[in-house]
């Protein structure tokens, strides 16, 4: 994220953009207050009463997953680097097959509110919940910080202001909004915010996609040709190699990124807890199918948006698109296909897409805050501290206090984090999810011998490996965009740790299990296996 962003909106349409932003805030707050009156039990608060249909939860998964980084970032990356910008979205999509085939239904049947519920099913509660809650909170906070820092820049960009004071105010406002959504609305409110956002995002993207394709007679090859020519790079713009894999280290770095993307999604705690909001495993399956369709369709549209921006909008080195690392590409493209700068159509579409981006930020931060607050209250407070003897009422108070605390911490960290290049935070979140959470989840479901020592070893091993490798990579030090630009302690060459940290996570799980004599976890394996595959005894929907 570059610190200096050229203002996008001219003053004449800033009013319109602000009005639409306020409309988004009003609608989402309305949903939240409505949902707050429906939250009666813990299952209501944590899992939305498990009453969402497959289609609704599919939309919500899309709303949770398609962040501003993928909406503005991927199309921007395609606008600047051509074909290579597209690669992120493929890993993001294929990853859903891991969730569909190996995780979603089994987790729905055997867990309750958090990722740790599933892992602690047949393990010793305290160590496993502590480990799972740690990685849940680390992954969610990394992801949350990336979203909030992005929000400061994006809203500044969309409103046409670039002063640091305004960005700080935006971060604080977004933080307060997400605290309100989560403390009042719980999972029900958050889910509906995500559903509304997903619908807005799909409609907005579809509209721009059709308008772009219309300019090229609905001929993809013509669009690609125009983009290649305008980019000044010719056919190379349509070929691999503009962004990734320029040298041997770069090629392994790309392989590492690809692995983390495809294996990380099914270990992201904020995605996992979405499966608990459906009444049965069959509905959880349907929701993932809807999500795959929506997310896949969305990424195909970002391909058109990205190449459309390359073909129709200025992407030269000093343009707003280039100075915003591509984030301005979709809004400026919307303006261009609406009729161009200074036209009413252009102003309306620019404001519309800006509001969609804003709704996207709000929905994603709400989901992440809820995930971490749930884990603090349900895993740490109720199970580790109170040893399972906390009343539901006190747990419901703690989860709201936790949401408030996490929101405050996120605001406090996001403001100073603005001067950093935050792209690594998302990559790190995926790497930790793939290295720490996925091995533990898969071993727990499919390996009878797996035990408490194995579960904690894979979580801490994968988590520490991913974080340490990033610190000692060029992301940590040695280059101008590093966390510590003036020092150089980078001995690990890859910016993405997955290639090494994912095998470490799996290996730690195997070694931890085999080195421990503990076999008590096998006693309930039959129960876990029967329950996860048949749904016998699984949590049911709340009847209101």
């Amino acid at each position: 994220m570059t610190p200096l962003l050229a203002p996008l909106a001219a003053s004449d349409n800033r009013g319109l953009t602000i009005a639409l932003f306020l409309a988004v805030v009003a609608v989402t707050l309305g949903i939240t207050f409505w949902a707050s009156r429906q939250n009666k039990t813990a299952a209501d608060y944590y899992a939305g009463g498990r009453s969402f249909t497959g289609f609704q939860n599919g939309l919500a998964i899309g709303g949770d997953y398609m962040s501003a980084a993928s909406f503005l970032g991927i199309s921007g990356s395609i606008a600047l680097y051509g074909y290579d910008g597209f690669l992120y979205s493929i890993g993001f999509l294929v990853a859903w097959l891991v969730a569909l085939l190996l995780v979603a239904e089994l987790l729905r049947n055997s867990g309750r509110y958090t990722m740790a519920d599933q892992l602690a099913f047949r393990m010793r509660q305290v160590p496993v919940r502590t480990a799972a809650a740690s990685s849940t909170i680390v992954v969610s906070i990394f992801y949350l910080l990336a979203q909030m820092v992005g929000a400061g820049s994006l809203v500044g960009l969309l409103l046409g202001v670039s002063s640091p004071g305004v960005k700080n105010l935006v971060i604080i406002a977004v933080g307060i909004l997400m605290i309100v959504y989560v403390t009042l609305g719980g999972m029900k409110g958050t889910t509906w915010v995500q559903i509304v956002k997903a619908v807005l995002l799909i409609i907005g993207t579809l509209l721009i996609t059709i308008l772009v394709l219309a300019q090229f007679h609905f001929n993809l090859s013509e669009l690609l040709g125009a983009a290649a020519e305008k980019s000044g790079k010719g056919e190379a713009f349509l070929q691999p190699g503009q962004l990734y894999g320029k040298d041997l280290v770069g090629k392994f770095d790309f392989l590492s990124l690809g692995l983390a993307l495809v294996l990380g999604t099914a270990g992201l705690p904020h995605i996992l807890i979405r499966f608990y909001t459906t009444p049965t495993a069959q509905t959880a399956r349907k929701s993932v199918l809807w999500a795959i369709g929506l997310i896949g369709g969305f990424y195909l549209m970002t391909l058109v948006l990205g190449f459309g921006a390359a073909a129709l909008v200025d992407t030269s080195k000093t343009s707003p698109i280039a100075t915003s690392s591509g984030n301005a590409a979709s809004p400026l493209l919307a303006q261009a296909v609406g009729g161009g700068e200074g036209t009413l159509g252009g102003a309306i579409l620019l404001a519309l897409i800006s509001a969609v981006a804003f709704a996207t930020i709000l929905a994603v931060v709400a989901g992440l805050t809820l995930t971490s607050a749930s884990s603090v209250a349900h895993d740490i407070y109720a199970s580790v501290i109170k040893k399972g003897k906390a009343s539901e009422k006190s747990e419901m108070i703690v989860v709201r206090v936790a949401a408030f605390g996490i929101g405050a911490v996120a605001i406090a960290l996001a403001i100073p984090a603005q001067r950093l290049n935050i792209a690594f935070l998302v990559a790190l979140a995926f790497a930790v999810a793939a290295s720490a959470n996925l091995p533990a989840l898969l071993f727990n479901l499919f390996w009878r011998r797996f035990n408490t020592a194995g579960a904690t070893a894979s979580i801490y091993g994968g988590l520490i490996a991913a974080v340490v490798l990033v610190i000692f990579s060029p992301v940590g030090s040695g280059t101008a965009t590093s966390l510590f630009p003036d020092a150089n302690f980078a001995w690990f060459p890859l910016r993405n740790p997955g290639l090494v940290s994912i095998p470490i996570g799996f290996l730690c799980g195997i070694l931890g299990t085999l080195l421990s004599k503990d076999t008590s976890s096998q006693e309930r394996y039959d129960e876990l296996e029967v329950r996860s595959l048949t749904g016998a005894g699984a949590e049911k929907a709340v009847a209101h």
Binding site: T41, A43, Y83, F86, L87, I90, G91, L93, V94, W96, L97, V98, L100, L101, L102, E105, L220, S221, L224, G225, A228, E235, L238, Q239, P240, G241, Y244, G245, K251, F254, L255, G258, L259, V262, A281, Q282, R285, K286, V288, L289, I292, G293, G296, L300, A382, G388, K389, D526, E527, E529, V530, R531, L533, T534, G535, A536, G537, A538, E539, K540
Partner: protein, 120 residues
């Protein structure tokens, strides 16, 4: 309201639950359900991971092949990428068909047996 797992359920009920799970785990229908689930999930997972890694590797180490034009400005790299979308949609569809035809009826049958044995 579902049974809470917080603390053990009253003794006799918990025992009945455990017995029901043990019975189901030994049921031939359950062995068949497990076999049918794994028969699809394991090969499909291996297949799409290999297919995806092949795509990533080709982007790195088979650039000449990826740069080949297919039609107009559409090259192999783009077609390969779009095929990843297609394969994802197809595998998702096939799994859902397999699950609703082969898995759901058995899971429902076993679930009903559990409810009968435990009384809920």
């Amino acid at each position: 309201m579902a049974r809470t797992r917080r603390g053990p359920a009253p003794g006799s009920q918990r025992k009945r639950d455990e017995q029901a799970y043990t019975d189901l785990a030994r049921d031939p229908d359950f062995a068949e359900l497990k076999r049918r689930y794994r028969r699809f999930a394991v090969p499909a997972t291996i297949a799409f991971l290999v297919w995806y890694v092949t795509y990533v590797v080709c982007n790195n180490w088979a650039r000449g092949f990826m740069d080949t034009r297919v039609v107009g400005h559409v090259n192999v790299a783009l077609v390969f990428g779009l095929l990843q979308f297609l394969s994802t949609f197809v595998i998702a569809y096939l799994y859902s068909r397999h699950a609703s035809r082969e898995l759901d009826p058995l899971a429902t049958k076993l679930g009903a047996r559990y409810e009968k044995e435990t009384g809920r």
